[in-house]
Amino acid sequence: MIIINGKEMALQWETLEDYILSQNYLLEHIAVERNEVIVPKAAYGQTKLLRGDRLEVVCFVGGG
């Protein structure tokens, strides 16, 4: 299991990049924290998702 934005999910992605691509996120609109630490954009491909990880994907929309 992995917790993504507060929801428990089956771990079905190898890397953070796999997950982000599977959700069709716009890379330039998001910021991702894994276990309370921000993941640099260039590191998504090497960031292996592990059982028990807690991911927070913040997706920004326009307006302010």
Partner: protein, 217 residues
């Protein structure tokens, strides 16, 4: 002829009156704080004024834009500010309500090259941009390079949805997010002052709560 009376208030009077409402201990904490407001539109213009009224001692106001007529319906500016830089206009308004607030202005686009330098001295970073790429870039940079700073960001306040759908949450230790996280202008919804201010008020409240030491949402 001006109908507005010139009022001379001393710093001591200003702070003593605020302290009667908020308590001296909180006012002292707010006075020491340095907050950067990044983006001075519908969120940032109201947030900066609110923080100044509450006694935040140092504000850094950052925006590259000038006031135009389309800003007047939603942002804190007045018609007389049209054509002025938002930094200059907002500093003027802040000084009118909080004349002893130390205000620094940066008339510039925040980007990867200048974020660290411009924000080095700040305790709290308020993300109040309108462009989602600028929002993500600022949050990413601060969280990567200056994770000790408090970041209060916003996403999702367009349209006429219920104000109750705008919420605050603590994403991680030093990172808070306000908004409904879905209503963006790209979906064709327009921004209206009231709902944007609900979101900005969430941000201002979180900033003051963090400065007061209440870290949970």
């Amino acid at each position: 002829m001006s109908e507005v009376a010139e009022v001379q208030i001393t710093r001591e009077q200003w702070l003593a009156t605020l302290s009667q409402r908020q308590g001296r201990a909180l006012v002292d904490k707010f006075q020491k704080a340095r907050v950067a407001v990044c983006g001075l539109g519908g969120l940032g213009s109201h947030i900066a004024l609110t923080l100044a009224r509450s006694g935040v001692g140092h504000l850094s106001l950052i925006d590259f834009d000038r006031v135009d007529l389309s800003n007047i319906h939603r942002q804190a500016y007045r018609l007389t500010h049209i054509g002025s830089y938002k930094t200059t206009a907002l500093k003027e308004m802040v000084m009118e309500v909080a004349p002893f607030c130390q205000v620094t202005t940066h008339n510039t686009v925040l980007c990867a090259k200048n974020i660290e330098t411009l924000l080095a001295e700040e305790d709290v970073i308020c993300e109040a941009f309108d462009d989602p790429k600028a929002k993500a870039l600022l949050v990413q940079a601060v969280r990567e390079k200056m994770p000790e700073k408090m970041v209060i960001a916003a996403s999702g306040m367009a349209g006429w949805g219920s104000p109750n759908t705008i919420q605050s949450r603590r994403v991680s230790q030093n990172f808070y997010l306000c908004g409904d996280e879905k209503s963006g202008i790209e979906s064709g919804q327009s921004l209206n002052s009231a709902r944007v201010q609900v979101c900005g008020a969430h941000q201002a409240t979180l900033i003051l709560r963090c400065l007061a030491g209440f870290l949970e949402v």
